[in-house]
Point group: C2
Chain length 175, copies 2
């Protein structure tokens, strides 16, 4: 799939069928995340790949909008270092956004849908994943084959997106 087509057609998928994700496909999805650019090449991230059904069911309870995780073939929990400095936290979050977008696009090319899940109960996911005190986890992403194959077709509408012309300026704001 051409890169532009992946970018243009990808959308979040919340319902998955029962097929597991092949190991080599999962390897590519994780590698895509790891290949993202990062500030000073610091790669401030780690990936916990979860496929055990009981664990996925537990992971679905870490947020208010994370039900989709229970039915995913795979969930990846994205761990980052804790930081006190606000600018550093923003920098870590920005880099993680690049990594997650890479993983989602790589999955989409393989016919695999994905959906973000924000962590609201960090102590709960820490208990499940048992990561070190100096790390934290704000995000779990579900992956799997869409229950409705039509989900893979290009969206028929802009999906509530603002027109590019509203967001784009030339040379200066308002230009």
């Amino acid at each position: 799939m051409e890169t532009w087509d992946a970018i243009r057609t990808r959308r979040n998928v919340r319902s998955f069928d029962d097929r597991p994700v092949r190991d080599e496909h999962l390897d590519r999805i994780v590698a895509a995340a790891a290949l993202a650019p990062s500030s000073m090449n610091e790669q401030r991230w780690a990936f916990v790949v979860c496929r055990d059904r009981e664990r996925l069911t537990e992971l679905a309870r870490v947020g208010a909008y994370t039900d989709h995780v229970a039915g995913a073939a795979v969930a990846i929990a994205f761990l980052t270092p804790k930081a006190d400095d606000v600018a550093e936290r923003e920098s870590i979050a920005f880099d993680l956004g690049q990594a997650v977008e890479n993983a989602m696009l790589a999955a989409w090319e393989l016919g695999i849908g994905s959906c973000h899940g924000s962590v609201y109960d960090e102590p709960r996911i820490r208990g499940l994943l048992d990561y070190p005190l100096e790390m934290t986890c704000d995000l779990v992403v579900s992956f799997g084959y869409p229950e409705d194959p039509a989900s893979l077709a290009p969206p028929g509408s802009r999906g509530g997106r603002r027109a590019v012309g509203e967001l784009r300026h030339e040379e200066r704001f308002g230009g």
Copy 2:
């Protein structure tokens, strides 16, 4: 270009030749950013596209590592809303990371390189771009055709990247 190949081979390019970026290619790069997923579909971003050489020269002075902007064919300044809440700032930064990665991958497929430039002097870039008080700008990204076409070839090394096996865990941290 297949999506995986774009993800796998993309790297930052800091030196550009003199060719302008075609309008339709620039349209695609900006659209790619606008098509990124965002929390609650909030699309908390705006894009200021700069091609004027004097402006690019001025923009190159907003950071300590932004010299590359002076020689770019195009720079896009990414504007986001100001926020006091730290979690909201992280969320805005995460979404922006997804948008920037989309733009850089879409460019790469077109043979166009790109490089991040962190803004250190926000009042200076505000003066140049004249955006509203409630917005801010932390990032300018350069785009252009690589001065050295070999830059577009797949990197011969991991470029200082950690091995995926170091970053990946199964079911739980350390697993």
